[in-house]
Every structure is written in C-alpha cells, then in structure tokens.
C-alpha cells in the first residue's frame, strides 16, 4: 500500500497554548486510520488543519507524496479531502438533494439540472450502499441518514480521503453498524478514511491502524491486530500513578448527599442518567471521572436542582428532596461551580461586586427585608474584602465581570460559592481553561472546603484533576456509574478501562 497522506511535524499554537506539538501522522491509501485520544488531545485541531480551517504554525502536509498547502476548506475539497463534522453542516430547511449540490461547481449551468444530477447521486448512493432518500427535507430524516448525506456530499465533491469526526457519537447501535458497512465499502473502493473516536470497542472493530494522540503529541501508531484494548487505554490515558500533594481521607460515614437509583432521560447514553447511586460524605471529595458527555452534566444539574429525576431519590443531609428547584438547593446549603462559567455562573454585564452577591441577596448581612433594601456599604466592604482574600485581579469591584480573565472570573465564582455556609460543593470542570497558577488556587480552595467538613462532588473531564483531589473516584460511562475506586493509590489502569467503557468487577466502595 502507498502512503496517501503524511503530516509532518505539525504544530499549532493558539496564543501560548499548544494544541498540536510536532505531530506526525502517516495514512496509507485505502486504510481506516483511527485517531484515538481524550478530549483536548488535539485530534480535532489536527483534522481542522487538514481540512483547511486552521493553518498550522509549523509543519508540512504531503498528499500522495506531493507537498501541499491547504488554505481553505474549498481547497481541501479540491485536493480530495472531505470532512464530516461532528455537528453536521446541513441546511435543515432544504432537501437532501439541495444540500448535496450546495456550492458545487461541477455543473456550470445556471438552472438546476435535477434529473441529470439525481442520476449521478443515485449511482453514487448505490455504489457505496448509502441508501438516501434524495427528495426528503433534512429535518425529516434520521440522524444516521443525515450523516450519510454528509458522506455523500463529500463523495460527490470527489473526496478520496474522508475524515469522520466522532461519527458514532449521536448514532444508535444499528446505525453504527450500517456506518461501519459503509466505511468498509469505501475502503474496498480504495478510499481512505480517518476515523476519530475515543470508544475502544468501535476503534478495535473498524480500524486498520491506530494513532494515539495525547496532550497534543503523537504517542504511537499501532496496527490493530497487534494491540489490545488495555494497551490502547493505557496509551490514551497515559499516566503512571501521580503523587498527590493533598492528603487523602478515608470515607466518612456522615452522609451529605445520597443518590438512590436516580434516573433522568435514561435511554440517552450521552445526556442522561441511568439508575445512578452514589454518596458523598462530610469532608470527602468524590471525583467523577469519565469522558465528557456521558451524563456528567445531567448529574451536576440533578444535584443542584436544575433538573428533577424521572425515577429514584436524592437525599440531602439524610432528608429526601421533594422540590427540585435551584432555590431549594441553595437554601439547603448546596453550592455549585457550574461547568460553563459564562452561561451559568456569572452575569457578564454586571459588576464583580454584584456577581459576588447573587446568592446572598436575602441575607440580613447585605439587605434589610430580605432583599428589598440593599445595605450598600456592607456590600461594598464585603466585595473589597473578597477581592483581597481571593486575590481577584480587577480594576475595581465595580468592573464588569466579563472584562476579567477566566481565572479571575472563576475566583469570583469560587468566592461566592465558598463564602456561604455550605454542606455540599458541586464543582464541575472547576479549572477548565485556567492556567497553572489559577488551577492550583482552585484546588487548594476545594481541599480547604473539604477539610472544613464540606462534602465535595467533583466532576471533571481532566483525569489528573480527579486523581489529585478525590478521596474516592467514581467512573461514569453512558449515564451509569461503572465503577467506584479508592482515591489512595488509585488503580489507574482499571479506571482508564472503565472510562473507555469496559465494564468490570470493581471494588464496591459505594455505600
């Protein structure tokens, strides 16, 4: 087999952050080559470079041995590179036919020559077993069919190399099978496929070769038949035991939070919870590890009252929760560092001072008559104190919060959530997008809260973070808790397998 594509020494920097660092990738003609890696490993960046959306800071791309420069998606198409994005680029209000011919310059006519093009499409559809209803509007066909339309779009534009970015994320099992059949058909016709995924089972089923990316770097390229799930998981997660600078505690029996078979939207693998049972004790950190989009968001929303369970119970301080409203949870001493600070955590156009006050307006410390009349001097004093103690860098507490850096915004949230009298802290991706200094600060504060006797539910896609902070680690996969592990000397290998969806016997540490 010949080499179809070589990416050599590709480096991409966003600001000061490396998304790709000297990545090498070599893809043979007619193979299915998988890019495997955690979120943020640099898979999508690499593919966006290949499809012309980003320009690499450094490095070269060779197609069929010739050096190419890819300036735009249109040029990538010309070179025979087609990409099926994770979020489909389809116009809902148009038909399948219209979407496929959109923007093409194949036929230089002014009027749409429907019959002629339709025959070409039907032939293409039959050749690769795409099974597309050409005249249906996009919003009337299934997600799987929409994906086939995207593949058809690429093929109609003459793609020789097809990039599929997490193509199975939104598909049912049957649709995945049919997708795999199509992929095999494509490679049997000498098309080349780059398959992006972090689902071990699928990767092992469809790939010829697998390149593992971690933290923006190429780790290894393996031949499928010569590797195992365990080896892949190990390379993907890629960590030996890290020593935590924080002292780990053993389980405390005084329960703050208890979930009993709680379910929400249980049939959804990515946006639901399926009979989740877990506990958080006073003075412990329960870390939830797992690849993003396995129900972690829903778990966070459930234990902060944003959603109510379809089934099962939630207990706070040994009392069953009857009302699932954020107000009730706030009153029950639950604090929340939400996953998206700009959407849920802060009001961008309000000042630092006002944002600090959001959950405490009714307290007699800051207002008379439960929020009717604000005690402005108290509020201003409080804000200035917080600014000092939490080292929030801003021009003044009157500055609009959206003008602050991410780290300082997060410190503001942290201050607001921790300065209240709380029993439970729900921290979701608390250090996402923060630099090392700010990360360390947030970690210290979380541990401080724990040591004061607060229960902490830490949900993070950053595995290091979970390992570092957690007294116990639960792994979520497709809406379920698939294992609970000790935080002291955590079995990294087993945890990484669980994260990749390998169910197994675990030490039952759940109470």
């Amino acid at each position: 087999m010949n080499t179809f594509l070589t990416m050599e020494n590709i480096t991409k920097k966003f600001g000061d952050v490396y998304a790709n660092r000297a990545v090498d990738l070599s893809v043979m003609a007619g193979e299915v080559h998988t890019l495997l890696g955690e979120n943020g490993a640099g898979k999508s960046t690499l593919m966006n470079i290949l499809s012309g959306l980003y320009h690499p800071t450094k490095g070269h791309i060779y197609l069929r041995g010739h050096k190419v420069k890819i300036h735009s998606p249109a040029q990538a198409v010309k070179l025979g590179i087609g990409m099926v994005h994770q979020h489909y680029m389809l116009v809902e209000a148009m038909t399948v036919f219209e979407n496929i011919i959109l923007g093409t310059t194949k036929h230089k006519s002014f009027f749409i020559q429907k019959d002629k093009i339709k025959n070409e499409l039907l032939a293409l559809s039959a050749k690769y077993g795409l099974d597309i209803e050409i005249d249906k509007p996009i919003n009337e066909i299934s997600v799987g069919a929409q994906q086939r339309v995207e593949i058809m779009k690429a093929l109609y534009r003459g793609a020789e190399l097809l990039i599929l970015d997490e193509p199975t994320a939104a598909l049912t099992d049957i649709e995945v099978e049919s997708l795999f059949r199509i992929i095999r058909r494509l490679t049997s016709e000498q098309k080349t496929v780059i398959f992006i995924s972090h689902k071990m089972r699928e990767v092992l089923e469809i790939s010829d070769r697998i390149t593992i990316l971690r933290a923006g770097q190429t780790i290894a390229t393996l031949i499928k038949s010569e590797t195992t799930a365990a080896e892949l998981a190990h390379l993907m997660i890629g960590r030996e035991l890290i020593t935590s600078e924080y002292e780990k505690k053993t389980v405390n029996r005084e329960l703050i939070l208890q979930l009993d078979q709680a379910s929400f939207n249980a049939t959804s693998k990515h946006n639901g919870l399926n009979a989740v049972s877990l506990t958080v004790g006073a003075g412990e950190v329960l870390g939830i590890a797992g690849v993003d989009g396995n129900g972690q968001s829903q778990l966070a929303q459930l234990v902060t009252g944003l959603i109510a369970p379809d089934d099962g119970d939630v207990h706070l301080n040994n009392r069953k929760v009857a009302r699932f409203t954020p107000a009730h949870f706030i009153a029950s001493k639950v604090s929340h560092i939400p996953e998206d600070r700009n959407k849920m955590g802060l009001i961008g156009n309000m000042t630092v001072k006002e944002n600090l006050l959001l959950k405490s307006l009714n307290s007699s410390r800051f207002s008379y008559g439960k929020g009717w009349l604000l005690r402005r001097r108290q509020i201003a004093m409080h804000a200035r104190e917080i600014r000092q103690t939490y080292d929030i860098r801003c021009a003044s507490v009157e500055q609009e919060i959206r003008n602050l850096s991410g780290g300082n915004q997060q410190k503001t949230i942290l201050a607001r959530e921790l300065e209240r009298d709380i029993d439970l802290l729900v921290a979701v991706h608390p250090t996402r997008g923060l630099d090392i200094g700010a990360t360390k600060y947030v970690h210290d504060k979380v541990i401080e809260a724990r040591d004061r006797g607060c229960g902490v539910l830490l949900i993070s896609a950053d595995f290091d973070e979970v390992l570092k902070l957690s007294d116990r680690i639960a792994v979520m996969f497709e809406g379920e808790i698939v294992g609970v592990f000790p935080g002291i000397n955590p079995p990294i290998h087993e945890i990484s397998l669980a994260m990749a969806g390998k169910k197994q016997q675990t030490q039952d540490l759940a109470v």
């Binding site: 980003y54 320009h55 209000a93 011919i101 959109l102």
Partner: protein, 313 residues
C-alpha cells in the same frame, strides 16, 4: 349599496388595488431578498423615503420619471449600504441598525427637500410617469383596463414575482443564496462566499426598496412631502411574513393590502359623514390582524437576523 356591484366601480377598485399593491409588493420582495441572505431589514420605510426623494428630485429636474426611478434605486442602494456595512462588516444588531435607517433616512430626505425648495407651502410638481397600455391585451373589455394599462414599473414589479420564484427554486445561484440565510456556516464550508452574498442581497434590497419609494413620487403622486411613504415599508415587512416568505404568498399579501387601501379611498369618497381618519386606518388595522393570525409561526430563513462571523482562519 348597488354602487358596489356596478361594473365601473369594480373596475376602478381593482385598478386601484393593483396600483396600491405595487409599492408594497416591490418593497416586500426587497425584504425577501434581504432575509434570504439572513438580513432582517426593518429599515425599508427609511430606504423608501430616501428613494421617494431621490426619484422626485431627478424626475423634477430632468422631466423624465424613468430617470427618477433609476435615481430612486441608486439612492436606495446608497442608504442600504450603510445598513449592510454595519450588520455584515461590524456584526451589529440588525434591528437596531434598521431602526437607525428609519430615523435618519427620512430626516435626510426632508432636509435635502428643504434645501432644494425652501419651506414654501406650494408643492413642486413633477411629471408623472404615463401608463403604457400593452397593445392588444389592453383592449380586452374590463380586464384590459385593470391589468394591462399601467406604468412599466407596475409590470416590472409583478413580473418580479415569477422571476424571484424561479431564482430561488430552480437555479443554482438561488440555492446557494438561500443557504446563506439558513445556515451560513454550512454555506461557507460548501465553498460559498457568505459575505459576498450578503452584500449582493443588500444591493438588491436597496435598489428594489428605493424603486418602491420612487414609484410613489414618480408614478403615483406628482409631489414629494414628508411622510409620503406613510408606513408602507412596515406593511411590506408584514406582507413577507403574511406571505410565508414565498413570492406567490407575498403577491397575495400585497394585493390584499393594496385592496384594503383602495377600498378605504373609495369609502372616503362615498361616505362623507364618517371621519376619513377612521377609514384611512383600514390598511393598518388589517396589517395588525394579519400579523396576529399569521405572524405566530416562524417559517422564514433559520439564520435570519443573526450576525455572522466568519471563523478565524
């Protein structure tokens, strides 16, 4: 009441309907071209006002109403390019910018008029565009006069309806154009130059809305006065919603509004006891009802009204 059924009355009413529907129809089509590229333009009234003035001035100076129409189109484009620059280039809020056009364009038109003619009470008169009967067809009894005895602008406007339909439904450029209003990111990734399409749309919209304004002062009444547009831009906006963003639907909507306008004029003439202000409200009230009953379900382009920022390349 017999008069309502008399043939001459009906003929007059229908003729008037067509004449009244013309400015609404052409401006509604202007809005359709704008919205299909994702630009909701509520500044139509302002563009019309400027077009009305430009049309009148040129027609008055040259004595040629056709040059007046051309001037109206150019004036409309000029005003709408301000909107285009703000919304496409700067990504400004479309509603805010449209409102700004509605405020400044009529004011500038009024200012220019006063510069040219002073504030005298006597209104300057320009030559009106003459009707050109279509040979043969115009001699058909009854409908000949109703449909085939108009100014060329009326023919052009009604001809634009099938042209627009064919453009959006049957042509490749039309399909690419529509995709910009639906999902600009998908359009861009399919190799369509989104920003270019939006600018083209703004030029078409400005020209058509400007012609709509100029029609009022070159073919309908022979003078310019402030407020000559009297909300027709907003009625046209309604016609687009009422017509479900389809050229045929917009035609029907414009005819409906034209009909109510024609009807209230007849009422005013016949019924001297009812205050004319009350009757003059009929088109606006019917607009209100049209919006209440047909404005609920949004059926327009999905990305209409949303600013588009090209991804960092």
């Amino acid at each position: 009441m017999d008069i309502f059924l008399s043939l001459p009355f009906l003929q007059e009413l229908l003729l008037s309907t067509l004449r009244m529907a013309t400015p609404i129809l052409i401006v509604a089509l202007a809005e359709l071209y704008s919205e299909r590229a994702g630009l909701v333009n509520i500044g139509l009234d302002g563009i019309m006002a400027f077009g009305a003035l430009a049309g009148f001035l040129v027609s008055y100076q040259t004595g040629n109403p056709y040059l007046g129409i051309l001037a109206g189109a150019l004036g409309g484009i000029l005003v709408n390019l301000v909107y285009a620059f703000g919304t496409i280039q700067l990504g400004a809020q479309q509603i805010v910018f449209g409102m700004a056009i509605n405020i400044f364009a009529p004011a500038i038109a009024s200012f220019i008029y006063k510069m040219a003619f002073g504030s005298s009470s006597s209104l300057a008169q320009a030559t009106l565009m003459a009707a050109i009967p279509i040979p043969g067809l115009s001699r058909i009894p009854f409908i000949g006069d109703v449909f085939f005895n108009h100014t060329p602008i009326v023919y052009l406007t009604f001809l634009l309806v099938p042209i627009t339909y064919v453009f959006f439904a049957k042509t490749i450029p039309g399909l690419n154009y529509k995709s910009v209003g639906e999902y600009p990111k998908a359009a861009e990734s399919s190799g369509i130059h989104v920003v270019m399409v939006k600018y083209k749309a703004s030029i078409i919209c400005g020209a058509l809305a400007g012609i709509g304004g100029a029609y009022l002062t070159t073919s309908y009444i022979s003078t310019y006065s402030d407020g000559v547009v009297s909300g027709r831009g907003f009625i046209a906006l309604t016609a687009v919603i009422f017509g479900r963003w389809m050229p045929g639907g917009i035609l029907l909507a414009a005819l409906f509004f034209g009909f109510t306008d024609a009807l209230q004029l007849r009422f005013q003439v016949m019924n001297s006891k009812t205050p004319y202000q009350l009757l003059a409200m009929i088109p606006y009230i019917s607009t209100l009802f049209a919006l209440i009953f047909f404005g609920i379900k949004k059926a327009g382009p999905a990305s209409s009204g949303k600013p588009y920022f090209r991804e960092e390349r």
